[in-house]
């Protein structure tokens, strides 16, 4: 892996939502390589929603969510819309992970409130860059699309 440690990674908490074991394993390995230590996982949209509601009620929301688009049951897109409509994650960066690279999907995701978008297969450099931007915006107090 060519990317180094991401500044502020140790203080940044991440929720990774993906139903695929290989993707979760690979992504966690990359995140740990970038210096992230507080990494939580959910294997479905519904599990992620329940985790988020609990976090909100305990006052300890994560800083960044990496969210797979295509999952059985509640899709990542549905979860994204629910979070933004409920305003439950106004201060949290949400980065969509998807195998589809159609411009129309990217626009749909940004319109629904995604901070940014990564196309699978997930490249180290792209994940590093998008997380850098998300962490930087988090410090400024905004999750505007990057």
């Amino acid at each position: 892996m060519s990317s180094g440690i991401l500044p502020d990674a140790e203080e940044t908490s991440i929720l990774l939502v993906d139903d695929n074991l290989m993707t979760r394993t690979l992504t966690i390995s990359m995140l740990e390589h970038f210096g992230f230590r507080d990494i939580d996982c959910a294997v479905s949209g519904m599990e992620a929603w329940e985790r988020i509601v609990k976090m909100k009620s305990s006052g300890r929301l994560c800083d960044v969510i990496l969210l797979d688009w295509n999952m059985p049951g509640m899709s990542g897109y549905d979860l994204l819309r629910r979070c933004r409509e409920d305003r439950i994650l106004d201060d949290v960066a949400i980065i969509m992970l998807t195998a589809e690279n159609q411009k129309r999907n990217m626009l749909e995701a940004i319109k629904a409130g995604a901070t940014s978008y990564i196309t699978k297969p997930i490249a180290h450099e792209e994940l590093f860059a998008k997380l850098s931007q998300a962490v930087a915006w988090k410090k400024k107090g905004s999750h505007c699309a990057v």
């Binding site: 695929n20 074991l21 290989m22 993707t23 394993t25 690979l26 295509n70 059985p72 998807t98 195998a99 589809e100 690279n101 159609q102 699978k120 297969p121 997930i122 490249a123 180290h124």
Partner: protein, 162 residues
Amino acid sequence: MSISLRECEKEVTGVVNQTLKEIFRQYFGMEVDLEKFHIDRHLSDAVTSRSTLSDKDILAIVALSIEKGLMDDMVAKIFKTSSCDHDEAAQSCINEITNIVTARVKTYLNEHGFDFGMGLPEVVNSRETKQGDLEMFFRAQDNRLAIDIGVEKEQSGYAAAP
């Protein structure tokens, strides 16, 4: 821009080849080069994952098969010393690769006038994809990896995009 399925064949070949190269390079550190064949070439002792694309009266099936030895190598690269179940790990690998390849094919076709929706990939017992109107067979890694794509339209002849 509207094109027929037959006209897509060459470009879809390129999309599949490029996507597989990316996946294997980034995830497994392996180089792959697909060869295209006009007939099926049997794979022995393989795991198969299948996904579908559908657009009104057109059904396409994408089936990825990986021979057990190659699959073991791939699982070892990702999961290293992990204690997770080997079969679960192998299925997740092959399903995700199928997912990405099918999604890229879908993207290409939808950018050329089609409106395919995509199903979730699943591990199956059969590599059967034969649908009749268009069939593509790809092989790599000394015939240890196979991607088969079969397309059928309800009426005879190839579909023209709306």
